[in-house]
Amino acid sequence: MPDAYEWLSLIAVQQLERGDITEVTAHGRTFAVYDTAAGITVSDARCPHAGANLCLGYFDGKSVECPLHQGLFNATTGAALAAPATRPLKMIESRVQNHTVMIKIARPL
């Protein structure tokens, strides 16, 4: 059976904001790419609480704080850490290959 997922390139590592969040629009969606203390991670850019753009939030290297209501999320696991966020952030599986951030997303049917 063919793989239902595919790895797509998102952004060159050298284009990332160091120690910060980089907003990337690609493949018809907007992603937040985090340069965390533990490596690069990627999430949906939309806050699961009320949809604000997390790329404009405060990032301390570990967690991202939503710019609208200051809900807090772990930027590696996506766990909701503080009110009003109750649902986890949608993380996207990612890896770095040939100096490029790659994401694993569902292949369109």
Binding site: E17, D20, T25, G28, R29, T30, F31, D44, A45, R46, C47, A50, G51, A52, N53, C55, L56, G57, Y58, F59, D60, E65, P67, L68, H69, Q70, L72, A82, A83, P84, T86
Partner: protein
């Protein structure tokens, strides 16, 4: 996320229009415990000093004025609590919770509940039926004075605390308090009510009148000042979602700015609520004409409101 699904925070608009860059915003958002601790180092002596004025004025005609002055300082714990519910007062998150709850006890504003209510105020600023903190431009001078008396405010707050203590969250509140948090809100109200009851009972049994003269009466006397300040933030501005016009910043003198923890930069705060109080003046320099500023300060804002109320100026509306 599809672009269409995204909620546009006002700062997105300012970035898109080139008023500020993401890097500058990041710098302004950086957190520190130091500015708030320094301000508290002045704040606490001020609270004790104005309290001491009450002590000095006992049995003199200055007793009520002293309680009023102390009350003005006490009701400004709202400004500090407001900063704490945004987690921008301190870098250390638990300090925001601790200080926010203490402020809430002083002015009878449950911290967790306020946090949730305030979230919707930021999402739906000045939108009728959606903004839970909206103060409607009064229809008459009588209505204006009635609001300033703080009677409607206290009536609403006391009934809110009572309702939550008996476990009742109304339909409007259910919109912004998630299901999983309702028990916490009820527990918070019960603990707060219990705290007041304990102080009341102890005071009566021991004949201890200090809470009355150094806390409760001053807060009641000072609240009209806080109502007047809160009115300057949005009342009389258009009831639309556009942050460029729906919020008013006020240029005020240094003592007022100190008391309100820089919340006179209210439009800047709504633009980027993750920017701490100490960085708001810098944000204000960046945003410039992106925000509406009343250069005559609080008094100017009230002149504007009254001009609309008496019909000397068209009423700001959704249109």
């Amino acid at each position: 996320m599809n672009q269409a699904d995204q909620v546009l925070t006002p700062i997105t608009q300012a970035i898109n229009e080139g008023a500020i860059t993401r890097r500058e915003l990041r710098q302004l958002m950086s957190r520190s415990d130091k500015p708030a601790l320094l301000r508290l180092a002045l704040w606490l002596p001020l609270v004790f000093f104005t309290g001491y004025l009450i002590h000095l004025s006992i049995d003199t005609r200055w007793f009520i004025p002293a309680m009023f002055v102390h009350g003005i300082v006490l009701v400004h714990h709202f400004s500090l609590q407001h900063e704490c519910v945004h987690y921008t007062a301190f870098k250390t998150r638990w300090l925001n919770d601790l200080v926010g709850n203490v402020c809430g006890l002083i002015i009878m504003l449950p911290n967790r509940f306020f946090r949730y209510e305030h979230c919707d105020h930021h999402t739906y600023t000045q939108r009728h039926g959606h903004d839970p903190e909206m103060i409607v431009l009064p229809a008459s001078v009588k209505g204006y004075l009635w609001y300033l008396s703080s009677v409607p405010y206290w009536r609403a707050k006391i009934s809110e605390l009572y309702r939550h203590s008996i476990g009742h969250i109304n339909n409007a509140e259910k919109k912004f308090i998630p299901k999983e948090e309702r028990r916490t809100i009820v527990l918070e109200a019960r603990l707060m009510a219990l705290f007041y009851v304990c102080i009341g009972v102890y005071s009566v049994i021991q004949g201890w009148s200090a809470p009355l003269w150094y806390w409760l009466v001053p807060v009641v006397l000072g609240e009209p000042v806080m109502r007047a300040i809160r009115m300057t933030e949005h009342v009389g501005r258009p009831t639309v979602g556009d942050m460029k016009v729906n919020t008013r910043s006020n240029r005020v003198s240094m003592p007022w700015q100190f008391l309100c923890w820089n919340m006179n930069y209210h439009a800047e705060h709504h633009y980027a609520s993750s920017v701490p109080f100490h960085a708001l003046p810098l944000l204000s320099n960046k945003l410039g004409s992106h925000v509406y500023t009343e250069n005559r300060g609080y008094v100017g804002a009230h002149i504007d409101m009254l001009a609309q109320i008496v019909g000397r100026k068209p009423r700001a509306s959704a249109g």
